[in-house]
């Protein structure tokens, strides 16, 4: 079993829809949680960064961390075709350098 599980999709929704992306993890020692967006043939770029539990909002994006359930979510409001990409969750332990990524969810927003 992988440390971080993420449904690979693909996920296809109409423009303007609310998108919900999720990851579960097995190690309760993870403290830092991130969401990256990766366009085809590009490197991942950081979207959201959360320390420990709670919610964080940035424009149309909201990240949630529920450490009691070992579950993290990314919500995208008013989705746009330009949001079409692969979304990767990532996490790390305090004091560790490496990021542990989920498999990535391929998202398509249809105009």
């Amino acid at each position: 079993q992988k440390e971080v599980e993420q449904d690979p999709g693909p996920l296809s929704v109409p423009e303007g829809a609310i998108v919900s992306l999720n990851c579960t993890y097995s190690n309760s020692a993870f403290q830092y949680f991130m969401w990256y967006r990766q366009y085809s043939r590009k490197g991942p770029e950081l979207l959201m960064y959360t320390y420990s539990s709670g919610n964080k909002e940035d424009g149309r994006f909201t990240a949630q961390v529920d450490k009691s359930s070992k579950y993290i979510s990314l919500f995208i409001r008013d989705s746009q075709p330009s949001d079409s990409a692969t979304y990767l969750c990532a996490m790390r332990f305090t004091g560790a350098q490496k990021l542990v990524f989920g498999q990535g969810t391929r998202l398509t927003i249809n105009p």
Binding site: Q6, G43, P44, K98, L99
Partner: protein, 121 residues
């Protein structure tokens, strides 16, 4: 400003050959990371440099893989006796300093390059 750059963007080689992949981090970033991303998977950690030294090489799959960063800037990932299973995108990332206990995004953010797509025939 310039981001992380990686060369070559694509590399095709034959089984058994030696390859070198280069990473130019963002200027002034002391921390540098290598990851490997197989098709349809998330990146997997290979090695982390703080300055010139490899502080964590626990992700290197075997002794065919080696990386250097002699002057604390550019890094080279070296793969000996390549195998077909080495085919993947090799990603390099840099950050201002090693990830610590700060909750600050800028302090911890890893900036990724576009990757080198390695194909071993």
């Amino acid at each position: 400003g310039a981001g992380v750059s990686q060369t070559p963007s694509n590399k095709v080689t034959e089984k058994g050959k030696y390859v070198e992949l280069r990473c130019d981090p963002i200027s002034g970033h002391t921390a540098l990371y290598w990851y490997r991303q197989s098709l349809g998977q998330g990146p997997e950690f290979l090695i982390y440099f703080q300055g010139t030294g490899a502080a964590d090489d626990s992700g290197l799959p075997n002794d065919r893989f080696f990386a250097v960063r002699p002057e604390g800037s550019v890094s080279t990932l070296k793969i000996q006796r390549t195998e077909r299973g080495d085919s993947a995108v090799y990603l390099c990332a840099s950050s201002p300093s090693g990830a610590g206990t700060s909750g600050s995004r800028s302090y911890n953010e890893q900036f990724f390059g576009p990757g080198t797509r390695l194909t071993v025939l």
